[in-house]
Amino acid sequence: MSMDRREFLKLAGLTCIGIGVGGAQLLVRSRIASSEYAPAAEGLQANRWAMVIDLRKFRTEEDYDKLIKACHYIHNVPSFPDKYHEVKWLWKEDFEHSFPEQKNRYLPEGIEKKPVLLLCNHCSNAPCVRVCPTKATFKLSNGITAQDYHRCIGCRFCMAACPYGARSFNWVDPRPYIKEVNPEFPTRTPGVVEKCNFCVERLSEGLRPACVEASEGKILFGDLRDEGSEVRRYLAENFSMRRKPELGTEPAVFYIIGGGEEHV
C-alpha cells in the first residue's frame, strides 16, 4: 500500500504540472483565437473601431434621449416597465456612478450628476468573450465584440464577467415590449443575452452607427489604429477617459468630460 501511495503522489504531482502547463497554454492561445472571425468585406472598414463621446457637447436631456431612441428602435430593444427585466444597449447614468472609482467631491459644479452615455465598450481583452462557454460572444478582427443570439445558451456567465454592466438578458419574451418593430433587424427570443453591437450591420452597409449619426457630431467614430483618423486627432487634442482602465480590458469607448461648461 505504501508503494502505491508514493507512486500515486508522483503521478498526482505530474498530473498537476501537466494540467498547469496545458491550462497556461490554453489561456495564452485563447487571446489569439479571439479574432479569428472577419467582419463583412463591404461597407466601412477599420482595424480597430473606436468611439469618442464628447460629453461637453451634450447639454439637454434630449441630446441623450434621441440617441437612445434611435439605437433602441433600430435594434428592436424592448422597454420593460419592470426594472428587473430591463434590456438596454445605450443608456445614461450619472458621472459618479459611471466612474465610481473617480470619487471626488470637488469636481466642477454639476459634473457629479451629469449624465454619461453608456454602452458596450467593445474591449480588446473582453472578459465576456473569455468566459463564454459556446463562443456565442466573440471578437471580430475590427475590434467589435459580437453576440450570436442563436448560439447563446443563456448561462449569463458573460453578465457576471462584464465589469461595465453592459449586458442584458431576456428574462421574458421581449417582443410584446417592443413599441415599434424594425423589420430590418432580428428581435430576440427569451433566454438569450444581448448588448450593443457597434452597429455592425450598419457598418457593413457603409453607414455609421445610429447613435453617432443621430448625435450630429457629439460622438465620433473611427479607426483607432489609423493615426490620421478623426478619433485619433480628437484624442490627441482633448483629455479623454475610459471606464475602469485599471482592469486591463482596453475599452474602445472614450469619454471627454470637460470642465466648468454649462451642464444639464
Binding site: 456612478h97 472578459p127 457576471a160 461595465y164 431576456n170
Partner: protein, 390 residues
C-alpha cells in the same frame, strides 16, 4: 443489485412517494419557467445569478467531500472507513446530479445545452466545469457500484478500479477548484476576485459534506440494521472540526484584506451582506445567522466530549451544515453582484416558483440518494459485522 432499491417497507415507499411528489410539483413549475422564461425568478439585470447557481456552488462542495473518506481509507489504509466510504461516494453521485440539474434549470435556452460540447471553448471555465463534473459523476458511480458489488459477492474488487479510485482524489479537488475559478477570475467583481476562493471552497466543502454524512450515518443506524460504526463517525467529526476551523480562518482572511485595505469596492459587498448598504439589507439577518451558527459549531467542535456525545454531535453538524449553506448557498453568489458595477444596489430574493423548483431539485437528489443508500445498506445488512475485503 439495483433490485434492492425496489424492495422496502411501506415507510420506505412513503418517503419515495413524498420525494417523487415534490419533484413532480417542481417539474410542473419548471414547465411554466420554460414557457415564460427566467423572469419568474427573482433574478434581474443586476443580480443575474441567484438561488439556482448558489445551490450548484454549494452542492459541488458536498460532492467533493467524498474525498475526505476516500483519502483515509484508500491512501492511508484506515480500515474503520471500509463500510462507510460507499456512503461518501453515493452522496457525491446524488450531489453532482443536483449540480447538473441546477445548472440546467438556470439556463435561458436549455435546449441548446449541447452547444457546450458542439463548440468546446477551453478558455471558458464553465466548459471545464462541465468536463470535471461529468467525469466526477462517472467516476463515483463506477467506483461505488463496483466496490459495493464486490462486497456483496464477498470478493475483493477488480484491480482496474484501483487507478480510478486514485484518480478520483485529485478529481474531487478539481471540481471545487474549477467551480471557484468561475468566480475568482472575473475582473469587475472584487468580492469574488480573491486568490483564496478555491481554498476556502474546499475548506467549507470538507466541513459541510462530512457534517451531512454524519447526520446521514446516524439516521442509517437509527432506521436500518446497518451500523456505520461509532469510531468511523468520530473520525469524520474530527475532519469536520479541522475543516470548519480552516474555513472560518479563511473567511477572516477575506474580511481582513477587504476592511484593512479600506478599498471601497472590496468592502462594499461585505457591508451589504453584514450591515446593509444604502438602506438595503435583505440578507443581513441571514448572514448573521450563518456567523452565529458557525461560532456555535466551532465552540462545540473543539471539545472532544461534545463530539463524543452523538446527540450534541448531531446538533453541531446541523449547525455546520446550515451555516455553510447560507454562506455559500446564498451569500457568496448574491454578495458578488451587490453592489452592481455602478455601485448601485439592486436586491435579490428568490420567488415562490424559483423556490419550488429549487426544492424539487433537492428532492430529486434525495430520491437518488435514498435509492443508492438503500442498495448500499441492504448489502451491508446482509454482510454482517466485520470489514470489507477491499
Amino acid at each position: 443489485m439495483f433490485e434492492k432499491a425496489l424492495q422496502g417497507r411501506p415507510k420506505y415507499w412513503l418517503w419515495i412517494l413524498f420525494l417523487l411528489g415534490i419533484t413532480g410539483a417542481g417539474f410542473l413549475v419548471y414547465l411554466q419557467q420554460l414557457k415564460i422564461g427566467l423572469g419568474i425568478t427573482g433574478m434581474s439585470r443586476d443580480v443575474s445569478w441567484g438561488f439556482y447557481i448558489s445551490q450548484f456552488t454549494f452542492l459541488v462542495g458536498v460532492a467533493a467531500s467524498a474525498v475526505m473518506l476516500v483519502i483515509p481509507y484508500y491512501l492511508h489504509d484506515y480500515k474503520k472507513f471500509s463500510k462507510i466510504v460507499i456512503l461518501g461516494e453515493f452522496l457525491a453521485v446524488s450531489a453532482v446530479l443536483m449540480c447538473i440539474l441546477f445548472i440546467f434549470v438556470d439556463m435561458g435556452q436549455p435546449m441548446r445545452i449541447f452547444n457546450v460540447l458542439l463548440h468546446p471553448t477551453p478558455n471558458s471555465i464553465l466548459f471545464w466545469d462541465s468536463v470535471v463534473l461529468t467525469g466526477y459523476l462517472i467516476l463515483n458511480i463506477v467506483i461505488g457500484w463496483t466496490t459495493l458489488e464486490a462486497d456483496r459477492k464477498e470478493v475483493p474488487p477488480p484491480q482496474w478500479v484501483k487507478p480510478l479510485i486514485y484518480l478520483s482524489v485529485p478529481w474531487a479537488v478539481s471540481i471545487h477548484t474549477v467551480t471557484a475559478f468561475i468566480y475568482a477570475g472575473l475582473p469587475g467583481r472584487p468580492f469574488w476576485m480573491t486568490a483564496i476562493m478555491a481554498a476556502r471552497f474546499l475548506a467549507s466543502a470538507f466541513a459541510s459534506g462530512p457534517a451531512f454524512l454524519i447526520i446521514l450515518a446516524l439516521l442509517i443506524r437509527k432506521l436500518t440494521k446497518f451500523d456505520p460504526g461509532k469510531e468511523a463517525i468520530q473520525a469524520i467529526a474530527k475532519i469536520v472540526a479541522y475543516a470548519m476551523y480552516a474555513n472560518f480562518f479563511f473567511f477572516l482572511l477575506e474580511v481582513f484584506t477587504a476592511l484593512y485595505s479600506n478599498i471601497p469596492g472590496h468592502m462594499a459587498s461585505f457591508q451589504y451582506l453584514f450591515a446593509g448598504l444604502d438602506g438595503h439589507g435583505k440578507l443581513v439577518p441571514l448572514m448573521w445567522l450563518s456567523v452565529i451558527l458557525a461560532i456555535f459549531a466551532l465552540a462545540m467542535l473543539v471539545f472532544p466530549s461534545v463530539r463524543a456525545n452523538e446527540t450534541t454531535l448531531a446538533i453541531t453538524c446541523v449547525a455546520v451544515f446550515i451555516s455553510l449553506w447560507i454562506d455559500k448557498g446564498f451569500g457568496l453568489v448574491i454578495g458578488g453582484f451587490v453592489p452592481n458595477p455602478f455601485e448601485r444596489v439592486t436586491e435579490y430574493w428568490p420567488t415562490l416558483p424559483e423556490t419550488v423548483i429549487s426544492v424539487a431539485v433537492w428532492a430529486f437528489g434525495f430520491l437518488v440518494l435514498t435509492m443508492l443508500y438503500k442498495v448500499a445498506v441492504s448489502v451491508r445488512e446482509a454482510q454482517g459485522p466485520g470489514e470489507s475485503l477491499h
